[in-house]
């Protein structure tokens, strides 16, 4: 009978080892999956060996049925939790990416469209000059365009006035959150591999393109 305590001790040791061997930062799933596999394997082997020691057939069946229910529902619960956590994280990342791309689109278009409207309505002949007149107070640190409050500490979307000429205005939108299509792409800010879009305003309208 005392042998059963050695079994429990070995089960505890194996489960502990399998839980703490994976790295203990970031996701907990590697530890949870490893230790669950070890612990449930232990339970199956333990029952296979020790269940026959119970003489009453009714009690044997009760233990077997309850442990089976426990294992089946635990597996279902684990699958739902895992799937939920993966989708949750992906969904949050997608929402953030969507917000940032939509903000980049809106913040690049708004000042350019307003400039376009005034350019044609008042028959201006220098588009760059008009844009600078309208937004001079928002252009800081040489070319950083503070239209979207990008100087706030937690902002990750930055707008830049890349070029202003009599015929065109070029704005750049850059996100430090979204990874671009090419990891080696040189961004306007000097970083590499980040999402970048460009809006070019001419007298014919706004051309908008994703550069990375």
């Amino acid at each position: 009978m005392k042998k059963i305590f050695w079994w429990i001790a070995v089960g505890v040791l194996l489960t502990t080892g399998s839980f703490f061997i994976p790295e203990q930062t970031g996701s907990m799933w590697p530890s949870v999956i490893a230790s669950s596999v070890v612990a449930t394997s232990y339970l199956i082997v333990f029952l296979a060996v020790w269940l026959r020691e119970i003489q009453s057939s009714a009690k044997r069946k009760t233990v077997a049925v309850i442990c089976t229910i426990l294992l089946v529902f635990s597996l279902a619960s684990a699958v739902i939790s895992y799937e939920n956590s993966v989708r949750q994280r992906e969904s949050l990342a997608n929402i953030r990416t969507h917000i940032e791309t939509e903000l980049a689109y809106t913040f690049l278009h708004k000042p350019l469209i307003k400039t376009l409207g005034q350019f044609h309505a008042d028959n201006y002949d220098d588009m760059g000059n008009l844009f600078t007149e309208k937004y001079d107070s928002l252009i800081v640190q040489d070319s950083l365009f503070n239209y979207s409050n990008s100087l706030e500490d937690n902002e990750t979307l930055y707008l830049f006035v890349s070029k202003t000429t009599a015929d065109s205005v070029v704005l750049i939108g850059e996100s430090s959150y979204i990874t671009g299509q090419h990891s080696t792409f040189s961004n306007y800010s000097g970083k590499t591999g980040r999402y970048q879009v460009r809006g070019i305003l001419t007298s014919k309208g706004v051309d908008y393109e994703r550069q990375n």
Binding site: M1, I4, I8, G11, V12, T15, T16, Q24, T25, G26, S27, M28, W29, V32, S35, S36, A39, T40, L43, F46, L47, W50, E53, I54, S56, K59, V63, I66, C67, I69, L70, S74, S77, S81, Y82, E83, N84, S85, R87, Q88, R89, L92, A93, I95, R96, H98, E102, Y105, H109, I113, K114, L116, G117, H120, N154, Y177, S203, K204, G205, V206
Partner: protein, 256 residues
């Protein structure tokens, strides 16, 4: 085993169930210690890291020891200690033939208590399944609404551009109503794609300075009988009003 012991076989289980309920009530006053669903904290941790990444832009590397140790202890008690002690208690009791139904020994009680507590996994899994279904069905609808708003924004800026451009540059020359001898069409807008998964319709243009574009999603909205602008019923619909030089205004006609 005495007749009395046989008659009252359920008594130890009643004690165990009462103990589990009592411990559950006490536990609810002392914070969130998970039992019966060791996977939930792992899921919560991933979500926490996701939220931090969402707000700060970088993934969080905090180990969250309290959640980790909670999960570890629950796995140990649920699959190793609980069932083992229960089986040990059953084997031990059959050799000792107790006269009192309640005299099962500490090992049996601890094992049975852990097993009963672990069986919470049954109702929680059923609940989780239902919540999972509702959550992700709702997320799909949110996504559809976001895509609709995004498509409308692009059409809105194109409409503003069209309004401001002079007629010689194929614009409206400060009017939507009759710039080219006819009112603006969606086909005048560069971003308009008639094959898009969402449908867009332009309301009758009866003003020089304002238009309304209706965006209709393929996803069902909250009102199943809502008459959508494109002739369908019950779909998510958002209407955008463009009034230069004002902002684009969005109105949810049939939400998620």
């Amino acid at each position: 085993m005495s007749d009395k012991t046989k008659q009252y076989w359920w008594l130890p289980w009643a004690v165990v169930i009462a103990l589990v309920l009592a411990v559950g009530v006490v536990r609810s006053y002392f914070g969130n210690w998970f039992f019966g669903a060791p996977w939930s904290p792992a899921s919560i941790l991933v979500t926490k890291v996701g939220i931090n990444e969402f707000s700060a832009g970088i993934a969080d590397t905090n180990p969250y020891w309290s959640l980790r140790l909670n999960v570890f202890v629950v796995i140990l008690l649920t699959f190793v200690v609980g069932p083992s002690l229960w089986v040990y208690g059953e084997i031990k009791n059959q050799s000792e033939s107790p006269q009192d139904a309640l005299k099962k020994g500490a090992a049996w009680y601890i094992g049975a208590l852990l097993i009963v507590a672990s069986l919470q996994v049954v109702p929680t899994t059923v609940m989780k399944g239902m919540v999972f279904q509702n959550t992700w069905s709702s997320a799909e609808k949110n996504k559809a609404s976001d895509e609709l708003r995004s498509g409308l924004t692009r059409l809105g800026f194109d409409a503003l551009e069209y309004y401001y451009l002079p007629r010689e540059l194929d614009g409206g020359g400060q009017t939507f109503a009759s710039p080219q001898g006819r009112a603006i069409h969606l086909t005048d807008l560069e971003s308009y794609n008639p094959d898009a998964s969402q449908s867009y319709t332009l309301a009758t243009v009866d003003s020089d300075t304002a238009i309304k574009i209706h965006g209709v999603s393929n996803q069902q909205g909250s009102d199943a009988n809502f008459a959508n602008a494109d002739g369908r019923t019950g779909r998510i619909e958002i209407t955008m009003t463009v009034t230069p030089p004002g902002e684009l205004e969005f109105t949810v006609m049939n939400g998620k």
